[in-house]
Every structure is written in structure tokens, then in C-alpha cells.
């Protein structure tokens, strides 16, 4: 047992015991608070409140309302962070934008048959979560992540040949991802543009009409509440997440022989 290992183990154990003791004696405050904080009370009171038309959003899901209406700027920037990571991975594997032809075999017939049964169910669940995001638990990122499991499963079971047979290009997926992000930003800039055309006031990322601005996104759809821009944001975010994550899996799973040639050829060039 070396001295370094002993010191690491001792410090981890004392960190654990000390943190547990502090949390138990309520040194950081009573950990689940006794009463709800004032900000949470005022948000919960106003998410579906037709009697207070300045602050309401007409959405039945409080978490979706907080994500896409009260704190919408955080979510747009988080989508941009995911886009930056995908761009980074694309730049590392830039030689494989045209996926090379392979002759890999797919897995056995049992796995293929059961995948053909499971895939339509995954697509159905993902689409339902994306569209119903303002009425029940769900939303843009949840539906997009569930939908992105389907291409990952397809590439794993049927091998990279299916991408070549379906003629799916990496530039196409990157183009979809980029245009979905552009449409999200355009949707957030729509009220000021419409307002300057028709001569009233409009705010960036505005959802419902406020006291000094009569513009508002559609709030009802044939007597179910449609929470205006929250629905459109959910659909666009689903498309963006599916395209981005499929591109990542495509680029990382190119054959090792071709990646090795690319990497060693780079080294010989230096």
C-alpha cells in the first residue's frame, strides 16, 4: 500500500463523513425547504391563469413553461452548446463526410427481426412526447433524445451498410441541424419584426400579449390549449436533436481500418 493511495482514501472518507454530518445538522439550511419559495409560488400561480393575462402562458406543464417561456434564453443557448459540441466532433472526423463504402455484415436474423418490431414503437413514443410537450410530461429535448435511439440501434444492428444503401449524407444531417437552430432564433425574433411592420410594440421571445403590446402567438387550437410558441419550439428542438445525435453516431462508427489510414497518413505528412 503506497502512501499516496492511503492519503487519497483517507481524504475521501473524511470528505464523505464531513459532508454527511453537515447536511444532517442542517448547516446548509433545511434541505428540502419547509415552504415553497416566493418565485416558485408566483410561477405556479400564473402558468394557466386567464384572469391575469399579462403573466400567463396557457400551458398545463409547469416545467415546459419555465424552460421555453420564462427562461427561454437559457434554453436557446443550451441548444447552441450542443451544436458546438457536434461541430467539434465533425471537425475531428472531417475526412469522413462522405461515408466510405464498406462490406460489413449485419447481425443474426433473430436480432434483425426483433429490431424491426421495436423500431416503429420507438418512433411513435418519441413523436408523441414531442408533440404533447405542453399538456403532459414531455417536451422538445425528451422526444428528440428518444427518437435519436432509433438510428443508433439501426446502425448497430444492420451495420454501416444501411447508411450507404439509404444514401444518407453527413452534410444533409448537418444542414438540417443548422437550419433548425436558425429557425429557432428566427421564431424568437418574430414579434419585434411583425411589430415594426404594423406599428405597435413587440418584445423578443414574446409568447402571449402583454399590457402594451397586442401581438400574441395562437393560444387555443379547437378547444385544447396550445401554448403558443412553446409548441413550435418543441417541434423544432426535436428535429434539431435527432439530426445532431444521428450525425455524431455516424461519424464515430466508421470502420477502424479507414480511420487508422487517415490518422497515420496525417502523421506521415507532418
Amino acid at each position: 500500500m503506497r502512501g499516496k493511495d492511503l492519503i487519497i482514501a483517507f481524504s475521501l472518507a473524511s470528505f464523505t463523513i464531513a459532508l454527511g454530518l453537515i447536511l444532517y445538522l442542517e448547516g446548509l439550511g433545511p434541505l428540502p425547504a419547509r415552504d415553497l419559495r416566493f418565485l416558485a409560488t408566483s410561477i405556479l400561480k400564473n402558468i394557466f391563469n386567464p384572469w391575469e393575462a399579462n403573466l400567463t402562458t396557457y400551458s398545463l406543464n409547469a416545467v415546459s413553461a419555465v424552460i421555453w417561456d420564462y427562461r427561454a434564453l437559457d434554453t436557446i443557448l443550451e441548444t447552441a452548446v450542443l451544436f458546438a459540441a457536434i461541430t467539434g466532433v465533425t471537425a475531428l472526423f472531417r475526412e469522413f463526410f462522405n461515408v466510405p463504402n464498406t462490406n460489413l455484415q449485419s447481425l443474426s436474423v433473430v436480432v434483425r427481426a426483433s429490431t424491426k418490431v421495436v423500431l416503429p414503437l420507438i418512433v411513435l413514443v418519441g413523436t408523441s412526447l414531442a408533440i404533447h410537450g405542453h399538456l403532459s410530461p414531455g417536451g422538445g429535448f425528451q422526444g428528440g433524445a428518444v427518437l435519436a435511439v432509433a438510428p443508433a440501434l439501426l446502425i448497430t444492428v444492420f451495420s454501416l451498410r444501411i447508411v450507404y444503401d439509404l444514401k444518407l449524407k453527413a452534410e444533409f444531417l448537418l444542414g438540417i441541424r443548422f437550419s433548425a437552430l436558425l429557425l429557432i432564433i428566427l421564431l424568437s425574433l418574430t414579434p419585434p419584426i411583425l411589430a415594426s411592420i404594423s406599428g405597435v410594440k413587440g418584445y423578443v421571445l414574446q409568447n402571449m400579449g402583454k399590457a402594451d403590446s397586442p401581438l400574441s402567438m395562437p393560444a387555443w387550437f379547437l378547444n385544447t390549449p396550445l401554448a403558443g410558441s412553446i409548441f413550435f419550439f418543441n417541434v423544432l428542438e426535436t428535429v434539431a436533436v435527432v439530426a445532431g445525435l444521428t450525425l455524431c453516431i455516424l461519424l464515430v462508427s466508421v470502420e477502424w481500418g479507414k480511420i487508422k489510414n487517415f490518422l497515420t497518413r496525417d502523421e506521415n505528412r507532418e
Binding site: L19, L44, N61, P137
Partner: protein, 136 residues
């Protein structure tokens, strides 16, 4: 006060503290790059549960999730506000999960480039080379 809910919160907090320390031990001690990535993902996921614990509501006998089942009138709104848990930490958590996924995907892409240069995923090779350069 709700005794069962209090016991639930205390047990969950002790479990999460244990998981965080095991994952941090894994990041420091194991020499393989892939093992470090796995331990980092587990540490991030364990810290995320603390945010949900902060938003929980213990002084109500039967708390409810922050979702309305149908368009309410004013009395339904009063009952809903008096019973539901905090929705703000949950919104911050969805953002945190997405950013954790982005970081992990990029780290996995970078580890392939590390393998190109050194021929192994052992991090001790990197630190020995660094020590040789700084001692010269």
C-alpha cells in the same frame, strides 16, 4: 411533518454522497482514459439528483408533481399551488443533462485522437513524458 418522506430524503442524500465520492475516486486513481470518462459521467449524474432534492416539498402530506391535469378554475389553482413541488430546479436539470451529454460526446471524440498519438489509452505515459520535459 411527514416521517416517511423525511426518511426517504435522508437515505437518498447519504447514497448520493457515497456515489459522488466513489466516482471521484475513480477519476483520480484509475489510469485508463476510458475509465476516467465513465467515472466522470457517473459523477455528473449523481450531482444532478441534489437539485431535485432541493425542490422537494416535505411539509405537505401528499405532494404532487408540477403538472395540471385539465384547465383549472380559481379554487383548483389554490389547491395546486399549496401541494405541488418546485418546478424551477427541474427546468435547470433538463439543461444540465443536455450539457453533460454534449461534454461526454466531445470527450469520446478526443480520446480517439489521444490513442493516435500515444498508441495506448494509459494516462501514465502522458504524465511521464510531461515530467521528462519539465525536468530537462
Amino acid at each position: 411533518m411527514n416521517e416517511a418522506a423525511s426518511l426517504m430524503i435522508t437515505v437518498t442524500i447519504m447514497t448520493i454522497v457515497m456515489n459522488i465520492s466513489i466516482a471521484v475516486y475513480g477519476v483520480f486513481t484509475r489510469p485508463s482514459l476510458t475509465k476516467k470518462i465513465i467515472s466522470l459521467i457517473m459523477c455528473t449524474d449523481s450531482i444532478n439528483i441534489f437539485a431535485v432534492i432541493i425542490g422537494f416539498r416535505i411539509s405537505v402530506r401528499y405532494p404532487s408533481p408540477p403538472i395540471l391535469p385539465e384547465p383549472p378554475d380559481l379554487d383548483d389553482l389554490q389547491v395546486f399551488v399549496s401541494r405541488s413541488v418546485d418546478p424551477i430546479p427541474q427546468a435547470l436539470l433538463v439543461t444540465a443533462i443536455v450539457i453533460g451529454l454534449a461534454t461526454s460526446v466531445f470527450l469520446m471524440g478526443l480520446s480517439i485522437l489521444y490513442y493516435k498519438h500515444f498508441g495506448t489509452t494509459d494516462m501514465r505515459v502522458f504524465s511521464e513524458e510531461d515530467a521528462d520535459e519539465t525536468s530537462e
